[in-house]
Symmetry: C2
Subunit: 363 residues, 2 copies
Amino acid sequence: MHRLLLTKPDGRNLTLYGREPIDAALQAPSPFPEPLNASAHLRWHPLRGEWVTYAAFRQDRTFLPPPEYNPLAATRDPAHPTEVPAGRWDIAVFDNRFPSLGREQGGAPPPELIVPTAAADGHCEVVVFTQDPKSSLGALPLDHIDLLLQVWGERTERLGEREEIKYVLPFENRGAEVGVTLHHPHGQIYAYPVVPPVPARMQQVAQEHFVAHGRGPLQQLIAAELKANVRILYAGPHAVAFVPVCARYPYEVWVGPIEPVPGFAQLSPAQRADLARALKTVLLKYDGLWQRPLPYLMAWYQAPTDGESHPEAHLHAQLYPPYRTRDRLKYLAGTEIAAGFFAMDALPEEKARELQQVEVNLP
Amino acid sequence: MHRLLLTKPDGRNLTLYGREPIDAALQAPSPFPEPLNASAHLRWHPLRGEWVTYAAFRQDRTFLPPPEYNPLAATRDPAHPTEVPAGRWDIAVFDNRFPSLGREQGGAPPPELIVPTAAADGHCEVVVFTQDPKSSLGALPLDHIDLLLQVWGERTERLGEREEIKYVLPFENRGAEVGVTLHHPHGQIYAYPVVPPVPARMQQVAQEHFVAHGRGPLQQLIAAELKANVRILYAGPHAVAFVPVCARYPYEVWVGPIEPVPGFAQLSPAQRADLARALKTVLLKYDGLWQRPLPYLMAWYQAPTDGESHPEAHLHAQLYPPYRTRDRLKYLAGTEIAAGFFAMDALPEEKARELQQVEVNLP
């Protein structure tokens, strides 16, 4: 993996990654000349026992781009700089201009309110998956996806080594149906000052399972899914993809290494290559299902970066497409949002069969 | 409160409620002649440590209604029976024909799988708020809303006294933006065989707070919101409505009695009347905000029906409209759905001011 660390005119970081060496003369553009001069802050939710972050500047996007302007494409016209330079690189990572988490220099201290507040320590990054605005994560070559897994690993290490960062979550929102307005292939990384509610719950459950059974619940589930061989979409020497028996979304799929590793950085090259193959298989099946790009939310869960050892952790992705049939969205409504209790009107076995029947041929 | 208990031709229950006496000769129609012959089942999610319910028959709606057919309107044409009869009544409650929870007679036992499974004990009801398909909850007279609070109380008592029911959640999904296709004013009630994840978390947090401080966190927050008087939308002698300081949705509002009561059935008549007033005020402000019906999810949290005493419980509604501005939806994306960590790009104080400025005049 080759990399080049740069700083944008507004002070934000940009790192370019490549399978090939990167020209050290490349410079970092920014659509924004001035540093961002505002901070997010946290407020304590006393009924749910969790933090909520407020970044009111996020709506203040006065920037008026020319038609067809794509901020994630390489800068062609210096009069309209984008977020990334022209040149030979494969993947770019830069600080989000409108971060939900992060202390800006000169930002105001958190307000004094009737609940505890705090500075929104943390960090938000944007990950440009490719220079090709018409491509998609699943369409990228295997060694490009492999590079992305390495990049996620490096970002997790860099962010996680900061004292205040307790959890790093790489994710991709894809498609207008999940609120994405920018269709250039990209994802995001959120680095949190706490282990957020969902990973915290999963960690607690996994720890209890590990203590009781000597292995984590995902390791046990993967072994059982492979043995049952009903919902499997990909089974390689090191990685697996399947519709989980307990899917909460109709086309939910999990992808991960068969043997537990705590995070991207601990994958062996062989594991990483097979994980890239498993992920590409799933994404191509998704787009093949209805012969159109399937929207989804993809989140990668790994061990907290809280300085503790996490033998219970098991790196994996959970993918949630928002459709329940070709033309019907699955809305999260009363029971899901208010109670956290998911109701499915499709069986995972049926949805797995649909995805199994989509043929995918990898080199 | 007057009531009439009826049974539909397909075996489902229908209860009619009225401010005035109800004609005992009314009969219960059903669009479906045959009993439902299928069951939902639960599967254990080993990573999240929670149950998921599967009701695969829910998509199998072969019923082909005539154009403009409204199953929640009173039956006018016996050849096309709806769910409720013509006659004088105000509110109707009936068993959901396609329940996400509930054991049907003759339904198959839960399948044997690689995770624990169980019969989906529980119950799902539909609540028709009014006979007028063009009305809305907020437009109903105060004594009609008061009746609804009584009905929610009675349903909670009736469902909660069942041994297997641990939690009763009345909610309303309103608007196409939250997935509602049937625009006749109505809500739902889910009765769960467990305390679901969100109420369970809130109960745990409230119990710890109660032990430490001698009162629940909502009682303390309401006192602080009233004292701060920044985000208040309604403050009556017994009930209050406000944008909470820790709102997770831009136009989120909470409505509840000022003094804690565990559930609807424990409201005094004076508390109930003021709570109806608070709720109506909020709903009229919502629709007045942009001079159009504002979609929302409204959920009413109360004490579990698990046979324990719950001094920490405090009945209240949380309302989540899906808009962040007049024409922009708030999508739940990576951080909210995958991490459970909410990011807001608006301050609750600003959104409260917008709602405060909507004038509402109640009799």
